[in-house]
């Protein structure tokens, strides 16, 4: 059973199509990144899965239950992008209220609240009203409420947008713990470097359609870009003009900056050949690094630079 399974899920707001027909499968235990430009329909899609918005057409299952149903929501946690909470509640009261909505018993709730406040670093603020919290603290307490029910599936919509580096690390740790517990994490984030670190698989979405899904492992294991070329940086001592001229046989656009040389190669097999060539010619090779395709590069390649407008 997949954690999320949708078939041509569509949402129209009047004449505007927010989600064109999204078909997606997310496996259980996966940390899944959902990427796309602003207005691509990412938040609308999450809201449909959680029953905040009714789909115009299409079908979907969340942990085997129909999307939007109470059964589907019982095992899900959600941190919304634009989180606004009842700021006149204390942190303790806030978690207690949401825990009761999950139907937790009072003893379980007490223990769970204490653990989660500890986890998100807010234990000492437990009796403080949320109105006194900074944006980062609100994000942390929001994260805690999303985990109250020990969810099997967690939706995090821009979970690190208001956080400092320490807070971002905390979110990464929480995601790592969730993965270790076998939970599925559905992460919607613009911080691609965060996604690159945390996710197993990503989907690129634009105009309410999935353009491509790929695993992060596939992305990192190949040094070559989609167009078949990649840049290589090497650092070596003893580089003579003749030796540098010889590098033109392995690639193009050779640039020298002291001991640092960059060039573009068209095949991965060029890398060991370059290493052998430099060593055989008496150069001392310290580093030979292919510039791997970053998620951001891939995002731009797939989604384009028009921001989805």
């Amino acid at each position: 059973m997949n954690a999320i399974e949708t078939t041509i899920l569509r949402k129209e707001f009047g004449s505007r199509v927010a989600v064109k027909g999204l078909t997606l499968q997310v496996q259980q235990g996966e940390v899944f990144g959902f990427l796309g430009p602003n207005g691509a329909g990412k938040t609308t899609f999450i809201k449909m899965l959680l029953g905040l918005i009714r789909p115009t057409s299409g079908q979907g299952l969340l942990l085997g239950a129909t999307v939007g149903s109470v059964a589907a929501r019982a095992k899900a946690g959600f941190l919304p992008e634009h989180f606004r909470f009842h700021d006149w509640l204390t942190a303790d009261e806030f978690l207690s209220f949401h825990g009761q909505l999950y139907g937790l018993s009072s003893s379980d709730l007490k223990q769970r609240s204490a653990n989660l406040l500890e986890k998100v670093g807010l234990s000492e603020y437990r009796h403080q009203q949320l109105r006194t919290f900074s944006k980062g603290m609100l994000q942390r307490i929001g994260l805690a409420q999303a985990l109250l029910n020990r969810p099997s599936l967690v939706f995090l919509d821009e979970p690190t947008s208001g956080l400092d580096p320490v807070g971002r690390r905390l979110v990464r740790d929480v995601i790592r713990d969730l993965r270790a517990d076998g939970a599925t994490v559905f992460l919607n984030s613009h911080l691609l470097s965060e996604v690159e670190i945390t996710c197993d698989r990503v989907a690129f979405i634009k105009h309410g359609e999935v353009l491509r899904t790929t695993t992060l492992q596939a992305l990192s294991s190949t040094p070559l870009g989609i167009d078949g070329e990649t840049a290589v940086t090497l650092r070596a001592a003893g580089l003579t003009p003749l030796l540098i001229a010889g590098l033109e046989n392995f690639g193009r656009d050779v640039h020298v900056d002291g001991e640092r040389v960059t060039l573009t190669v068209t095949a991965e097999s060029a890398l060991p050949q370059i290493a052998r060539y430099l060593v055989s010619q008496g150069a001392e090779l310290f580093a030979l690094t292919p510039q791997r395709v970053s998620l951001e590069d891939l995002f731009i390649q797939i989604v384009g630079t028009d921001g989805g407008l």
């Binding site: 905040l52 929501r73 919304p80 909505l101 139907g103």
Partner: protein, 278 residues
């Protein structure tokens, strides 16, 4: 019971946002003012008749004047309490973390309704109960059919609050306030048209008043409440009473209709909130 969890949150909100405290302090000011006025009216020579029977009628009239104001304030409070409840949470996004929990949407609406109903009961008990007690302690006078009268006042508050909740599930806070206050004023005017029609024996005016009450029955509940609590002699004497206790009296059918109207408004609030995108 998740309904009670939501209802409790509504109570807590009233306490934390100082709604309860403000209402209590101003209600207290209202009672102090009324008590002072009642005391000085009583203590002024010749302002109250000497005969015991006439005295009781005068006390009844003074009490009805106070209850008339209390009823108006309860109606306003019902709108103020509920106007921002759903629309405010929808526009701020606070509703997202609630509705994404395993909770049916009707539970959210009914829980809020229950919370407001409790707050409204306390408010009416403070104002109307305080007035009755004030007159009782100072003059040893209590109106007839007190529980029925207070019950009808409470029903009017529930009706206005339920309607506010229904509008709040679809409209913004300001639009909700404008719509419900508009209807409240409409019903008030309709009640007066009916009263004046009765006084002038003008059937068309009476019919217009009844039609207005069917469209928005809040005022008819007050007029029936006032009728119940008005002394039998004043009832028999007057065709017209500025506080609504005489003249045209809304029928029992109208009371049932108003109760059904209240339930329909609550149903509408639940339906509208359950079907909308958030």
């Amino acid at each position: 019971m998740k309904i009670l969890v939501i209802a409790r949150l509504t109570f807590l909100e009233a306490a934390r946002r100082k709604i309860a405290l403000t209402a209590f302090l101003l209600g207290l000011a209202f009672l102090i003012l009324y008590n002072l006025a009642f005391y000085f009216v009583r203590s002024q020579p010749n302002s109250i008749p000497n005969q015991a029977l006439a005295q009781r009628e005068a006390y009844n009239l003074l009490l009805m004047a106070g209850l008339y104001a209390a009823n108006f304030m309860a109606g306003v409070m019902a709108v103020l309490l509920a106007a921002d409840s759903l629309s405010g949470e929808i526009s701020s996004g606070a509703i997202h973390t609630i509705v994404s929990k395993p909770v049916y949407r009707f539970v959210v609406v009914f829980g809020k309704w229950l919370g407001f109903a409790g707050l409204l009961a306390l408010y009416i008990l403070l104002l109307a109960g305080g007035l009755v007690l004030s007159v009782g302690i100072q003059a040893n006078y209590y109106p007839p059919n007190l529980l029925v009268g207070l019950g009808l006042m409470y029903l009017e508050g529930l009706l206005v609050m339920s309607l506010t909740l229904a509008f709040s599930s679809r409209l913004s806070t300001l639009a909700t306030g404008a719509a419900v206050f508009g209807l409240y004023g409409f019903a008030f005017l309709g009640g007066w048209v009916e009263q004046i029609g009765t006084l002038l024996k003008n059937q068309t005016a009476i019919d217009i008043g009844v039609a207005a009450s069917l469209f928005m029955p809040s005022e008819s509940l007050w007029r029936r409440a006032a009728y119940e609590m008005t002394s039998p002699i004043l009832r028999a004497l007057g065709n017209f009473n500025p506080f609504g206790g005489g003249g045209s009296v809304p029928s029992t059918f109208m009371i049932f209709y108003a109760a059904l109207f209240t339930l329909a408004a609550l149903g509408l609030a639940i339906r509208a909130f359950s079907q909308r995108d958030l």
